[in-house]
């Protein structure tokens, strides 16, 4: 299926099933991308999983993006789904504010999302409600901040031995 045809097909299904949850859709670099509301993401994923025409039953990846300048929509989580039978790929994004970083977890649909969501919690502090074991996964458990957020510098700010003037940064 051509990517434009796929975009319109899924767009129509989402608009019909989720009139309030659906926000917009766009073809970004030949990749159908759909924006839905944060609270409806679990239902959208379940719907696309069970849909007969285009059953997206493979979760390729999920990632968070931090836009500190977009007030009210600082965080975005993007999910990439893949229909292996017909070889169709789509991307779903949700945007939400940094004041409430709760997102419904999709581990009940995809077991693969377990560690993927833990990684996003570790790096960005997104709290996935309904996750069976939401702890840090790659960083040490005692870390108090979420390092991938844009406000945190690449290097550990607590070090006193490196002088920025001498290291030319």
């Amino acid at each position: 299926m051509e990517t434009q045809a796929l975009l319109t097909a899924v767009e129509q299904k989402l608009k019909a099933q989720f009139p309030e949850g659906y926000v917009s859709s766009e073809l970004i670099a030949d990749y159908p991308t759909f924006i839905v509301k944060r609270d409806s993401i679990l239902d959208v994923v379940k719907f696309l999983y069970n849909d007969v025409d285009t059953s997206f039953q493979y979760l390729t990846t999920l990632a968070t993006i931090h836009y500190p300048d977009h007030t009210g929509q600082e965080f975005a989580v993007m999910y990439q789904l893949h229909d292996l039978r017909k070889n169709l790929r789509i991307r779903i994004k949700i945007f939400f504010s940094s004041s409430d970083t709760h997102v419904p977890s999709i581990t009940s649909v995809f077991s693969a999302a377990n560690w993927m969501e833990r990684q996003e919690f570790d790096f960005f502090g997104i709290i996935f409600t309904g996750h069976p074991n939401l702890k840090r996964i790659l960083n040490m458990d005692e870390m108090t901040y979420h390092p991938m957020r844009k406000e945190y510098a690449l290097e550990d700010g607590t070090r006193e031995d490196k002088d920025d003037k001498m290291f030319g940064r």
């Binding site: 493979y58 979760l59 990632a63 077991s111 996964i137 040490m140 390092p147």
Partner: protein, 403 residues
């Protein structure tokens, strides 16, 4: 213990013992910890801890220009690092809209298939080692040394190769590289056959590995497996066929698929893939002979460094060199995702560019991280030695696990 015969029998509560398959263990290939809850020798449950080699690649990538990110992609799956490099170059070329000449694409295919052979050589011989068969490992590793010699001739490094540049390769294949490659293609098939004769129909090996750590296709898909582990479970999903890149659609190869998803199937799938890689390399060499010689990069002076001789004599070359190194080139804004078939599965790069000289966000889809979650389920109910064998047959590489 009571000596009185009339006391009622004490109810013995079953207690499970905890065994720490610690981060540093000679049998785990990498640094990851598993705390096992054992009932005697049967594993009831396990909890994995990863992150011992986390190097913050996604954060690092936000501070490095695009050509400086290639060395960190090396260190993801370090057993087949050229595949990660090529995947990254193709992602950036997708963002920039660069069209790569056919000859360069075939050269990239040769490099990627050599890396795949190297990765599968390690995995299969190490499955042998974990069952106690050291001989196969020693002899087939000599072939991996030959691949290292080829890489050294191409780029100067053996393991973490940083091969290629955005827009092509940094230099053409030298005559010595072609000679080493031809010699490899003569020597590798007999060596692989010898390795196969040791293990493939070996009664002890088969008894040891069949039904060891199986996973069904439905569970594997739910855990987003990809690569040889998924193909061993019976699903023929290969990124080279599903979303062809780098002219893979022009090559003729089959996808070996298993049935049960156990260790023997994983071994056999990787074995089959090595034979297919040899076929692909031979086809690529034949195709390169038909292309005009000498081309090793696309004509994109804004992104591909000019040759040094020109930089000191030619004004445009000087300006391009300055702009590329100082980061003054115009990178378009965009959002792309590109996946390649790595040694372990679908290695994906999700790149968001905001027009600056470094990415705004780079997310790496690491197949090892995703399928290692299923390890607890795969070893439940099995013996400890089967757990070790399952881990090595899944080809868990710590670099890709943690990034």
């Amino acid at each position: 213990m009571s000596k009185d015969k009339n006391t009622s029998k004490e109810i013995v509560e079953k207690e499970y013992s905890t065994l720490n398959l610690g981060p540093t263990h000679p049998a785990t290939h990498g640094i990851f910890q598993n705390v096992l809850k054992m009932d005697g020798e049967i594993i009831m449950d396990s909890e994995s801890t990863v992150g011992y080699i986390h190097r913050a690649f996604e954060k690092l990538a936000e501070r490095r220009p695009y050509y400086q990110i290639t060395p960190i992609t090396d260190r993801l799956n370090y057993c087949s690092s050229p595949i990660n490099n090529m995947g990254w170059h193709m992602t950036v070329e997708k963002l920039l809209g660069i069209e790569i000449p056919k000859r360069v694409q075939y050269m990239r295919v040769i490099i990627m298939e050599l890396a795949r052979i190297a990765d599968h050589v390690i995995c299969n011989s190490v499955i042998g080692v974990d069952t106690g068969a050291m001989t196969g490992f020693l002899y087939i590793f000599q072939m991996r040394e030959r691949i290292y010699d080829i890489y050294e001739e191409l780029c100067g490094a053996r393991l973490t190769t940083n091969i290629g540049r955005i827009g092509g390769l940094e230099r053409d294949f030298t005559p010595k590289a072609w000679a080493l490659l031809d010699q490899f293609l003569v020597d590798f098939p007999p060596a692989l056959k010898e390795f196969e004769n040791l293990l493939m129909r070996n009664r002890i090996f088969m008894d040891r590995t069949i039904n060891c750590g199986p996973i069904s296709a439905e569970r594997a898909l739910n855990y987003s497996f990809s690569g040889p582990n998924l193909r061993a479970a019976g699903v023929d999903y290969d990124v080279r066929v599903a979303n062809p890149y780098c002219s893979y659609e022009e090559f003729d190869f089959i996808i070996p698929v298993g049935t049960q998803g156990d260790t023997y199937d994983r071994f056999m799938v990787r074995q089959g893939e090595m034979w297919e890689s040899v076929k692909i390399i031979q086809q690529a060499i034949a195709k390169i002979k038909k292309e005009p010689a000498g081309i090793y990069h696309a004509d994109v002076p804004e992104f591909f460094l000019p040759p040094k001789e020109e930089v000191y004599n030619n004004m445009e070359a000087l300006i391009y060199h300055f702009k590329i190194v100082m980061g003054e080139t115009e990178i378009p804004k965009g959002e792309v995702y590109h996946a390649v078939e790595g040694g372990n599965g679908e290695v994906g790069y999700y790149l968001i560019s905001d027009g600056g000289r470094t990415p705004y966000r780079l997310h790496m889809r690491r197949p090892c991280f995703i399928y290692y979650q299923a390890y607890a389920e795969m070893i439940r109910g099995g013996l400890l030695s089967d757990a070790i064998l399952t881990m090595s047959s899944m080809n868990v590489i710590a670099g890709e696990l943690d990034a």
